[in-house]
Symmetry: D2
Subunit: 438 residues, 4 copies
Amino acid sequence: MNNIFEQHESEVRGYCRNFPAVFVSAKGAWMTDENGERYLDFFAGAGVMNYGHNPDKLKEALLDYITRDGITHSLDMYTQAKRDFIQRFEQVILRPRGLSYKLQFPGPTGTNAVEAALKLARKVTGREQVVGFTNAFHGMTLGALAVTGNGFKRAGAGVPLQNTTSIPFCGFMGDDPDTLGFFEAMLQDNGSGLEKPAAVIVETVQAEGGVNVAAIDWLQRLRDITAAHGILLIVDDIQVGCGRTGKFFSFEEAGIVPDIVTLSKSLSGYGIPMALVLIKPEHDQWAPGEHNGTFRGHNPGFVTATKALDYWENDWLEKAVAHKSKIVHDRLQAMVKRLDVTASIRGRGLIWGVAFDDPTLASQVSQACFKDKLIIETAGMEDQVLKLLPSLTISDEGLTLGLDTIEKCLAMVLHRNARHTTETAEMAETVEDALISA
Amino acid sequence: MNNIFEQHESEVRGYCRNFPAVFVSAKGAWMTDENGERYLDFFAGAGVMNYGHNPDKLKEALLDYITRDGITHSLDMYTQAKRDFIQRFEQVILRPRGLSYKLQFPGPTGTNAVEAALKLARKVTGREQVVGFTNAFHGMTLGALAVTGNGFKRAGAGVPLQNTTSIPFCGFMGDDPDTLGFFEAMLQDNGSGLEKPAAVIVETVQAEGGVNVAAIDWLQRLRDITAAHGILLIVDDIQVGCGRTGKFFSFEEAGIVPDIVTLSKSLSGYGIPMALVLIKPEHDQWAPGEHNGTFRGHNPGFVTATKALDYWENDWLEKAVAHKSKIVHDRLQAMVKRLDVTASIRGRGLIWGVAFDDPTLASQVSQACFKDKLIIETAGMEDQVLKLLPSLTISDEGLTLGLDTIEKCLAMVLHRNARHTTETAEMAETVEDALISA
Amino acid sequence: MNNIFEQHESEVRGYCRNFPAVFVSAKGAWMTDENGERYLDFFAGAGVMNYGHNPDKLKEALLDYITRDGITHSLDMYTQAKRDFIQRFEQVILRPRGLSYKLQFPGPTGTNAVEAALKLARKVTGREQVVGFTNAFHGMTLGALAVTGNGFKRAGAGVPLQNTTSIPFCGFMGDDPDTLGFFEAMLQDNGSGLEKPAAVIVETVQAEGGVNVAAIDWLQRLRDITAAHGILLIVDDIQVGCGRTGKFFSFEEAGIVPDIVTLSKSLSGYGIPMALVLIKPEHDQWAPGEHNGTFRGHNPGFVTATKALDYWENDWLEKAVAHKSKIVHDRLQAMVKRLDVTASIRGRGLIWGVAFDDPTLASQVSQACFKDKLIIETAGMEDQVLKLLPSLTISDEGLTLGLDTIEKCLAMVLHRNARHTTETAEMAETVEDALISA
Amino acid sequence: MNNIFEQHESEVRGYCRNFPAVFVSAKGAWMTDENGERYLDFFAGAGVMNYGHNPDKLKEALLDYITRDGITHSLDMYTQAKRDFIQRFEQVILRPRGLSYKLQFPGPTGTNAVEAALKLARKVTGREQVVGFTNAFHGMTLGALAVTGNGFKRAGAGVPLQNTTSIPFCGFMGDDPDTLGFFEAMLQDNGSGLEKPAAVIVETVQAEGGVNVAAIDWLQRLRDITAAHGILLIVDDIQVGCGRTGKFFSFEEAGIVPDIVTLSKSLSGYGIPMALVLIKPEHDQWAPGEHNGTFRGHNPGFVTATKALDYWENDWLEKAVAHKSKIVHDRLQAMVKRLDVTASIRGRGLIWGVAFDDPTLASQVSQACFKDKLIIETAGMEDQVLKLLPSLTISDEGLTLGLDTIEKCLAMVLHRNARHTTETAEMAETVEDALISA
């Protein structure tokens, strides 16, 4: 029955090619396909399902809202549901962290939030250039794509991407070279050919880019440099915010305060499209309606997003993430040691990447896992990194089951490759023998 | 209680400034605020609620889907809900119209659909320029904004908008001048300074731009010119597709077949964010994943969108729109005649605009209507056009009630303005008298 | 001996392909090749030799200056030669015409003058867009190329040309349509998608573009529109200034005063590279050195340019041009009538174009003329216009000789083509006969 | 009499503000002003007068050519003078060095040569991006400006400069960091956000940028990297070619062969505007006339340029430069040591820079020297480098006289500054005393 898709859906479809099941339902860490097969989900909808699929409390609130004909679509008019969310977000997230931000609801996608952030930064500073980082991912619309590193996606623009400059992310040049020193030198020399940018946009952990983790002091220095030069710092927390690294915001650990923050993905907590731009009050220089969009006011999203904030009333989730983070880290370390495979393991909270020296391994393991009913994606420009992104609410058993599957599949793949190599070698020997004896 | 919004929400908020109620629920053509006040909706969420708010059959399907934990978020993996939509769309919409299109699900907003369409057109043709029209509106992300006419929104980009050219829409130069003749002449002369574009993007009725209606033969000629020069024709049917002009696609009446069509807004039928790009099979040259986005697979949208297609199994809705279209048109004509106000009345199906000669009238009428519990917006660069956009399923009574309100408010505004002018004049006279006698 | 060129000079070389003689010397209206053959020059170095080749008075001044080791190269330091030029230009050109301009000496080429003018207009207005015209030619560097219409030259940029818009020149749409009305409408509607430009740049007669003559009232209206909207008007008088249309500036006849004027080509009067930007004092907002260039101060150019201003001390040259203009016009009219060839004849002063209905004729005539020792070029995007550009100082005899040659060659070409058509038809008949009888 | 300039010449004039004499004549290393004052020239017209002012042999050839009415202006038609130059350049410069280049004569300025080079590189590779270096200077027209580092000049563009990326020049990050390693890493990672460029453009010594000398092995590695990635290497030898570093081309010492070379400034040897683009035959993919310009064929330039090649028939000049280079280097070293001033001294051949730790010193010394009748410029973004650029043919006596003047003026400036500091300190003490006793 997949030929319906093949026949009628555009060739642009992607993930379905690696995970070709037809899904029907989902709950917590599990997804079920049309044949009743259950898959353990270590992908979490690319970071959308931090609280697991269809969490019951959010589901209840959502069903209740729909049942009583709560207004669904309101553009940017006022609604009760929106007010509840704003109040709750202020109360549970911002105030306890000592943060003061204005909330902008752009179109309900990450790329829209990024476009709004870039526009605003350019307006506030009156400058046009924006600096992004190697292997960054910020979205597919032209403005966001211009600060995205991926050469394949960039080429898709069909036009030159302008008014942006890409500089090396933490660790891009290996351990030693000082990537921010380079940036600082360019800023200090008015002959550098780098126009003073309106903003720097950064992910604290580059998820799509290969689970590249910015060091805490690197983030701090970035904040210092941008502050010193009057450059706005935008943290794109779309994929690793909402608790993915343990705390609600991924930048909390560094103790920095960005000028603008973008959120989306797990914000609604239920997979409902929603996005948010947080703006320091002094930078909220938008004219009314200057950036708009049809689906800025999708109230079911406000409803579940408000309910999702219950997770942040205490430190239960943060502790749970820390606990599971250690499980994942230790297990991955042990795994590569036991299987004697060279790999760099990196991550924070519940986002982890295994960058094998052999860049083809990650895809092979991902494919093997899928056959074994574990959904796990790769990341990085060449899909060279196995990316673990389970829901934050996964049980220890679920987590262990997934890690077991990964280890089993990795072992299998290594064995198969070794055999293949051996067989190829043996075959080659046979052929050589035959040639020699001839 | 609106100070929650004023205090914490960004200054970018817009509609809430004109319609400052706090809404709670909505049904059909009516919206209810937190004080229990009911508002008749002649705005329909900027074209999102073509089938009215929370239509029961869609609501049932949605509740059922959520209740049984249907998968919510699936990126672009296969799901049953998506397959059902594709099959149904093919069966109910495309096949009966003899149309053959591949379906791309971009991010769930109109601007994302436009960005995808522009990218693809550039890729397919290998050209960079895209032509749009005066007073067009295609979205707020950089690519879509570059083909949007509105100078205020364009300035918000903070960077020059590139690789696009704006040419006059049908009627832009008044009745006579041949706006497409100008375009054709530019294309035919290789010294014109206009690079041959990848695509032309057009709305058949410019809704945001002021309810500017393209003549049928103008659309046909545009299709002929683009075809003759190997330029792709993109019809942006986001606001006036899904039955707004009577037929499902707004271009059907012209008998033309665009190369690419963008849909969103009323597509899900329930206010759930969803978008669709229709691509002629020969132009479906996307590489897998070349354009992506997190919320491409929001299954509740597939569910209600599938159900919404029931409206198109027969010609009931089309006939209903034709019937109501005539009611609106005749009433508006009579109204301006009776009240002796000069205005141009234009529209198709159930999108109508009243462009008063006095550009300030539309806003005054809109405000007066809101006080009288009718939600009706303005359009055009200077808000000079009163825009009627009721749901297609509104009852005749509801429609008449709204038109009554408009007429009443228009009369009141005219009277007030006249009185004000008189009073000002009288006051001036008094002052003059006083000065003279002094 | 031309194989030296073919072997070592780049394929980019152009005119030498049409006029493949190797020239040695030149005087007045005549050029002499290495075989001693003399050619009558109706091209005047693309408008550089308005006063003829190597005019004696300028030559004397130049020899004297070089002989006494006058400083040749001075960047933009002060020199006596430069001061003499400035004083003389002020005295002979600006003051008598009531014009008040500051003089900028950019790099000594037309394209450099245009680049300086565009930069300054953008700086003064703080806007980025510049409007140019269909079939305009302003130069080959990226800024000037972006306001040049020629599609072949534009494609040579290898990047999209940005921040400019091309609008129809006078007559582009035939006699009737109001090309400036279109521009004015775009400016008046803030939703037109045309950003308010910094400047409009125009040639009063498009020489390269096909000898397209702007009507006097069209120029006046352009000045009115730009003034009303605070847009700078740049007249690029590089090819048709310095007397080509009769008066020193080509815009004098229209009685308009541009904000910026660019001059080059015949400015030095001797073929020495030199360029000049005239700037209304209130727009002279350059910072020192903001636009520079090595050869801004080539003093031999100042010397001959100063001497060339002697031509403008009285109205002798202006009258001579008027006299010869009539000779050319009348003769061309008579010629096409006598030879019964359909063509549009247009021009001003001593720039004339014959646009034959058959677009291939102009090149054929040009080639035939060269064989008959007359150098005459074609113009227009498809070389469809025969362009007459003799020096302004040519004798009546020289002028008549050239016109005789043109008429003779045109007659010959027409006869040859007619014969060829007949022969082809006859040959076709023969072949048909043969086939039939086979 | 300078008020003629102040009144009528644009504010853009620059050098005349630092060197406000009115010059009349020049010979060899000397310039004479209208008062008969003679100035020793250590600036050489920004690198135009490598062979000194008005060298006799070139002057003779020039006078002879003009006297016999040699053709002055020929666009890109063939002339005897041009053929002589091509033959002689091939024979004296290219063949002995084993170089095979096609010659393109663009407009007669450096920026035009750079624009042509960039266009061609983009055409040949089909790519749009070009990489330039920090503190590079390539010209003022938009294409060349986009690869120029100077922030002040870039801002003058008035539009964003596109399709270029600036990377650190040799030594930009201090001694250690590997600036080309950074570039190579960006090229190797397809997720770096740096599109593979069409070309890299480089000066082997950045003259305007502050006399920054690229190390020989750095140049070699740049050639290796560009070759490995199929990127064209353009050496802009406009300021430091034609013998400035000793050999005719500045890149000879590195043993590399660029794909494209640009020359201008001292090419004509007499201050006559002339430029040349050298193109590897396989890259000569220009279509005829694809890049053009009015003054491509200024024959007096060909005449003196041909004659100037006599300097390169033997190694006399190269040896002379080496000899004088040592004199300058040793003297500068001794000078800063003796005067106990901290400075970095760098250069090659006869281009030398003194970068004082105190960035204000260079301008002070330059001003003092001018009063002492030595013309010497500063360089670098903040004019922080004293730039020695005497003609290559200067006598040892002249050279020593100039160096003496520099030393004298530097000593004077240092003394004055010290006294000023002391006086300020003394005055401060006095004030403090007064305050204390109060």
